[in-house]
Each structure stands twice: as C-alpha cells, then as structure tokens.
C-alpha cells in the first residue's frame, strides 16, 4: 500500500516536471507521447475539417457524404487488408 501510495503521489507530483515531448519514462501509458498531439491534434485536423465541412456546408447530400465516408473507411480497410493477405502469403511461403 505504502509504495503504491508513494508512486501515486509521485505520479501526481511529477506532472509539471515531465515534458512528454522531450523525454518521459511514462511512455507506455496511452496518450502521453508527442505523437498523440502531433497525429490527433495537428496532422489529422484537416481531415476533421473536411468531414465536418461535408456535413455542415451547403450544398450537402446525405448519400454523397456517406459515400465519401464509406470510401475513407473502405479504402483504409482494403489497403491494410490486401497488405495483410500479401504478408500472410509471404509468411506461409518463406517464413
């Protein structure tokens, strides 16, 4: 109990001192590394804006919007799915 409490205080206390962008031993926790802010906060912003604009702006069409979303999701799946198949084949034949 005591060591647990100690590390809990420690975790609390270390908040301001730890700059996750530079270095941090807490890297196994989710949402601490620079990628969290970079990918979800900056890089994907234009994509959020795009999808939001599809639905909010005018002229807008429900079918076309959903088709667009379907393409986004579907193409991602196809891309990784086909890569998966390729890797499985390579794995079976060569490894």
């Amino acid at each position: 109990m005591t060591p647990l409490a100690a590390s809990a205080v420690a975790a609390l206390a270390s908040g301001p001192a730890a700059v996750p962008l530079a270095s941090s031993p807490e890297y196994t926790l989710p949402f601490v590394g620079p990628g969290t802010y970079l990918i979800f906060g900056i890089v994907l912003l234009p994509v959020y804006a795009m999808v939001a604009a599809w639905f909010i702006g005018d002229p807008s069409d429900r079918f076309a919007n959903l088709l667009g979303l379907g393409y986004l999701a579907g193409l991602t799946t196809v891309l990784w799915g086909s890569l998966f198949v390729a890797t499985i084949i390579i794995g079976v034949v060569f490894f």
């Binding site: 990918i39 890089v43 990784w80």
Partner: protein, 440 residues
C-alpha cells in the same frame, strides 16, 4: 495563358480505352519485364534474408542498415506529391490550364504511394509481420514512434487521394458510359453506384475539401513533417539533424513530383496523339514550376552546406565535408541546377522550349533527387556522433537486389497506368467541357 481545350471531342478523351496497339503490348512487356527482374531478386531476398543486399550494421560492422530501399521510399513519396499539386492548382486555385493533367497526376500519386509501400515491405526483415505486428501496436506506439506517424499519414494520404479519385470519376464514367467497354460493366456499376446528376455540385464541394485537407497534410505534414522527422529527431546521426530537413525534403518532393507529372503527361500525349488535349502551354507552365521548385531545392542545399561547414559541431562539420566531397552529390545538384536553368531559359526565350528536352530534364531531375535522397540516408549513417568506430564510415554500394527494386517499382507505375488507362478516362471530362455545362 490558359489555353482552351474545350474543342476536343469525347472520342479523343477515351482514345486510350478504345485502342489497342502493338506499342501498348510492348510497353506492357517492358513493365512486366521490370517487375519480373525485381521479383526474381526479391524471392532471393525472401529466401536468404537481407544478407543478399549490401546493407550491414553500422558501428563495429562498418556498414549502413538503411540504404537504397529507404532512399527510394522517400523518393516515391516525393513523386506522389504531383497529384496534390495539380489538384490543388485546379480545384483550390482555379488554374484550369492544368485540368488536362490533373487526373494523371492523381493517378501518379496512387501509383507512387503504392511503390513507397512496396519499399517498406521489402525493407523490413520480417515482411510477414508487417500487419500483425504493426496494427495491434498502433494504438500505443503512434504516441511515440515517428515510423508509426509515417505509416499513419501515408495511409491517410493514400486513402484521401483514392477517395478524391473515386468521387470525381463518377461524373466522367456516367457521361462517357456509352464509349466505355461493355465487358467492364460490373466495374462501372460499382464505380457509379447510386449516381445521380444532382450529386455533381455536392461532390464538387466535397472534393474541394479533400483537396484542401490533402494540401495541408501531404506536403507540410508528410513530406515536410513525419518523413524528415524519421531522421532529424534521432540523437545518433549528425548529418540528419536540424529543422531545415523539413523544408529541404519538401522541396525535393515537389521538384521530383513536377518531373513525374511532366514525364507521365508527355508519355500519354505522345502515345495517343494528345497534342490538342494536353497542349504545350501545360508543359511550359509545368516547366516554370520545375524551375521554381528546383531553385528552392538548391537554396535549401546551400543552407545545409554553409551551416555545416562554417563553424558547425565537429561531427556535423565532418558529415558536411564528406557530403560535398562526394562526386555523386554534385551530380545530383548539377542535374537539378541544369533543369532549373533550362526551365528559366524557356520562359525567357520560348523558342528554346522542346518537350523532348523537358522530358529529358525531368528524368535527370528524378535521377538527381533519388541520388540525393539515398546519399542523405547513407551518408547520414556514416557520420555518427559517436565516431570511435574505425569501421565507420564504411562503404555502401547498392546491390543488384536493391537496384532491381527501383526498376521493379518503375515497372509497377508503368503497369498501373497501362491498366488504369484502359478502364477509366485518365483525363477529366471537365477539361474539354465547360464548367457551366458541368454545374448545370
């Protein structure tokens, strides 16, 4: 400046789909040949491991663990930027002059990104784990690994570009359906699923936003971001460090992208007699872009050289000195400089313009940018901050296995265009028919 190509008829547009020539077959054979050569070597790599390459461990091993594969990966991603440059020019900036080559550029993006993906696959020691290791790790590793950022952004780039194409192609396929081969009817039915002419305006707006998203994400955050960060964030290698890598990578990407568009567009113009559809104005305009991007490329190289030799930390100074003592570096710089001079010369004296010379210059630029990228990767690795190893710098000359992969991916791009141009119109109907007609 803008040349009206609206007089060109629909027959011309679908000419690639309706013809089937010996030259086409020859091109197909060349593509398969290139891919075949690569597959022959790649099977050896799969059988024996990466030992068949000339890669090795840095450190006591005196080699480079990253080489042509990674250089070529970056190079292809750079070429892929052609699509967004042209789409942005047309959709966002209203530069309709480039409408005839916009879709070719978008297709080049898809093909080039595929090649980049191929290089990831063949670069790793365990390609069979590329999905089973990467996907489960994504939620936790994307927080940290620049390689995971890279995978994420390239996936997004690919998907956005493909979505853009998938949405814009519906308009053309629907209107040109009577000129398209019946044997591919199921394909066209899928492509145009649920299409009504009412959606045109909506889709036009949607793709404007896709172009907007890509123009921010791809050049700035992909090639000016996560790819240079793969290197510049590391504490190990002097030659890779520094914030200038972002702009520098981007300038190389844009330079090679324009070159790629010029080559592909000229090839189609030549093969299908599209002198009217893709007029000289397009190429003269692209030449100016090539000159401008080359200028920025050279300027950023100057930045790196001058900051690297004047009073740099010893390891960076050493890396820079070796870089400027490498003949291949100056070949790369020279080729880009030559293209720049030619591009600017043709704007001053239009009589100097010759599409064959321009294509030659573009090929030279692509060779130069590939050389620069490989040098960046390899020489970066040979000048570690920790320089006690006698074996470092070692020597690295790409093996036939590695070189064959570059040829193989070129083959993939050729094959891709040969196949796609038989299925869908590779030039938008918008290019030959007024937008009023479109929007009506």
């Amino acid at each position: 400046m803008s040349v009206d190509v609206t007089g060109v008829d629909r027959e011309t547009l679908v000419r690639p789909i309706q013809t089937f020539t010996k030259r086409y077959l020859a091109a197909l054979a060349v593509a398969f040949g290139l891919i075949g050569v690569w597959l022959f070597f790649y099977v050896q790599q799969l059988q024996h491991g990466l030992i068949v390459t000339n890669l090795a461990d840095w450190g006591s091993g005196g080699g480079v663990p990253w080489g042509l594969y990674i250089g070529a990966f970056i190079w292809w991603v750079g070429i892929a930027h052609g699509g967004i440059i042209l789409s942005a020019a047309v959709r966002l900036l209203g530069m309709d002059t480039y409408q005839p080559v916009a879709r070719l550029a978008e297709l080049l993006t898809i093909a080039a990104l595929t090649c980049a993906g191929v290089f990831i696959l063949i670069h790793v020691g365990r390609p069979d784990r590329l999905v089973t290791s990467v996907l489960p790790a994504w939620p936790t590793r994307v927080q940290w690994s620049p390689l995971m950022w890279d995978v994420t952004v390239i996936t997004a780039y690919f998907v956005l570009t493909a979505t853009y194409l998938a949405l814009t192609i519906r308009y053309d396929v629907h209107r040109l359906r009577d000129r398209l081969p019946n044997v591919l009817e199921p394909v066209y039915r899928v492509i145009t699923v649920g299409y009504t002419e009412k959606e045109d305006q909506v889709v036009e707006r949607m793709v404007w936003w896709i172009a907007f998203a890509i123009i921010i994400m791809a050049p700035l955050l992909l090639h000016g971001g996560v790819i240079p960060w793969l290197f510049s964030l590391l504490p190990s290698m002097a030659g890779w460090h520094g914030g200038v890598q972002g702009p520098s990578f981007l300038s190389i990407a844009l330079t090679s992208a324009v070159s790629g568009i010029i080559i592909i567009s000229a090839a189609f113009r030549y093969a299908y007699g599209w002198d009217e559809l893709i007029p000289d104005t397009v190429f003269q305009g692209l030449a100016k872009w090539l000159g401008f991007f080359s200028l920025i490329f050279l300027w950023l190289q100057l930045q790196q050289v001058i900051t690297g030799i004047f009073a740099a930390p010893t390891t960076l100074q050493h890396a820079t000195e070796v870089k400027i003592a490498t003949p291949l570096y100056w070949v790369a710089i020279g080729l880009v400089a030559l293209a720049m001079l030619y591009a600017f010369a043709t704007s001053l004296r239009p009589e100097l313009y010759d599409i064959r010379v321009l294509v030659g210059m573009s090929v030279a630029v692509l060779f130069g940018t590939l050389a620069e990228k490989v040098l960046f990767v390899v020489e970066g690795l040979q000048h570690a901050h920790f320089d006690l190893y006698a074996g470092v710098p070692g020597a690295y000359i790409p093996s036939p296995v590695e070189i064959s992969a570059v040829l193989g991916t070129v083959g993939i791009v050729v094959l891709f265009f040969l196949v796609v141009s038989k299925v869908i119109p590779v030039v938008e109907l918008h290019a030959i028919e007024d937008h009023e007609e479109v929007d009506a």
